[in-house]
């Protein structure tokens, strides 16, 4: 059964005030279009969880959507800091809960696996364990060192962008996988956005590439260029100019307001955003072709 719907409808139906949202993607596949739609719909009091909040959460915090962030690296990768998260934490207006990357994704892995917690080896660095009471210790019954554990995370809704999916939500993903799959299996509801909706036969031609099955997906939205200024491997490049520029743009309220007014509130949806972005930018970010060698599954 098709789960196709518009992104606007999917956000309206599945993201509510106060929800714990996990918009997945480690540098790659970050669903900016979904974040912008949440801002446009004025959803508030969200708990925003991501290993790397990235610009998308900086924008959502700046727009007043968030009560709290859960993260493991709050920076603009390769550039600097995320001003709005940093200020929010410094001035007490934003709650936070913090892990290392491994702790953060172990919470998702436990959630995805139906386990109450995941164990990790000790790291010797105790300050974060002490600062975050959700870190606990468990004895190794085989006589080794105690392990560190974190509890399962079950986001109310995960938003996961992929290269291609069928209309039921069976999705092919390639390139950097981040925590896409774990977030989808851990969450209570999943909004899947895809660059392309393809025939199920194409998905079935390579079942080992299907990392997210329809089974866990609540809604499927076709959203080309969903990830810009992040990227989608094989579809468009990361817009590093934008990432570099955010440092300046986000410096004060006026700068952020100008950005949101123009690129979020000022467009109705990603289609308008894309038209506004224009053919030159799209051209600049288009990669050349580099195809995978096929494999033979055999007909039996």
């Amino acid at each position: 059964m098709s789960k196709l719907t518009s992104l606007s409808e999917a956000i309206h139906q599945h993201v509510h005030n106060g929800d714990l949202v996990y918009a997945a993607g480690f540098t790659h596949l970050i669903p900016f279009a979904a974040g912008h739609e949440i801002i446009r719909q004025g959803i508030k009091e969200l708990v925003l969880a991501r290993a790397t909040p990235d610009l998308i959460y900086d924008q959502m915090v700046a727009a007043g959507c968030a009560r709290k962030v859960i993260f493991s690296y709050s920076g603009n990768p390769g550039v600097g800091s995320l001003k709005w998260l940093r200020d929010g934490m410094q001035n007490g207006s934003l709650e936070w809960e913090e892990y290392s990357h491994f702790g953060m994704i172990s919470r998702l892995q436990a959630g995805a696996s139906g386990l109450p917690f995941m164990p990790m080896r000790q790291t010797g660095a105790l300050d974060l364990e002490r600062a975050n009471p959700l870190y606990q210790r468990v004895q190794d019954p085989y006589g080794g060192e105690d392990v560190v554990v974190v509890p399962a995370l079950h986001p109310d809704v995960a938003i996961v962008h992929v290269q291609r999916a069928d209309s039921e939500g069976n999705a092919h993903i390639w390139g950097i996988l981040g925590e896409q799959r774990e977030a989808a299996f851990a969450a209570k509801r999943v909004i899947l956005t895809a660059e392309e909706i393809v025939d199920a036969e194409l998905i079935r031609s390579d079942p080992n590439r299907t990392l997210i099955p329809s089974l866990v997906v609540s809604a499927v939205c076709q959203v080309p260029w969903c990830a810009h200024p992040s990227y989608t491997q094989g579809y468009y490049d990361r817009d590093n100019d934008f990432y570099l520029g955010w440092e300046e743009m986000s410096k004060d309220e006026a700068g952020v307001k100008a950005y949101l007014d123009e690129w979020v509130y000022g467009v109705r949806d990603r289609e308008e955003y894309l038209a506004k972005l224009g053919p030159n930018t799209q051209e600049r970010l288009k990669p050349g072709l580099r195809l995978s060698a096929p494999v033979n599954y055999g007909s039996y």
């Binding site: 998260l85 998702l108 990361r238």
Partner: protein
Amino acid sequence: MPEAEYNATELMIINAARLLKDGDQVFVGVGIPNLACNLARRTHAPNLQMIYEAGVIGARPNRLPLSIGDPTLVSGALSVCSMFEVFSLYLQRGNIDVGFLGGAQIDQFGNINATVIGDYQHPKVRLPGSGGSMEIAAWANRCYIMTPHQKRRFPARVDFRTSAGFLAGRAEREAAGVRGGGPQAVVTNLGIMEPDETGEMILTALHPGATVEEAQANTGWALKTAAHIRVTEPPTENELRILREELDPAGIYLKGGG
């Protein structure tokens, strides 16, 4: 330091590259550690392999990546896996020889703060946080740190231990049952600090022209020195050429000062 034909960043990268061994499996971030690895690969360590926390193994980038998740790291790589897998199967499993670390503060025992200046609950300056460094510092067999030699970067005690060096000394790290060998060298623009038998970072090498006094003046604890302080070989023409012409022709990192 005398006027030189190389800058502080180049000096650190070249000295860090020399610490890498052929065949090393290196867990590497972008920026200057990436340059150090690529320099080592093109000189004495052709079989060094770069592994990125984004889950990329054996990357062969065609351009200098800005972010750790750049698509150029993926196209043509040997293998790509999820983040959970790269931290589990590679780092926690003990498959990583070398990790690179950085941070705002590094203390006498190589503990690093990348989290906060001031009190954790009421931050004076909030930094990005651990990312992968808590586990890299713990589980890589050897860790290296590159950082400019400045007193504020080298306090006797860090405000927050984001990742473990030798804690309050080697014995404490060993008692904690932490897998990896801990920080093996801090490479600065003045020289190199290495841990002594107690795990304290002591000055073991100086770059040409730098002095013990200069190093002490820029270190926040009473800096011990090795019995014999080595003077590092100056960067060779070949090393500088590879760095400047092949690896970072636009000077994105080399001119940025790290």
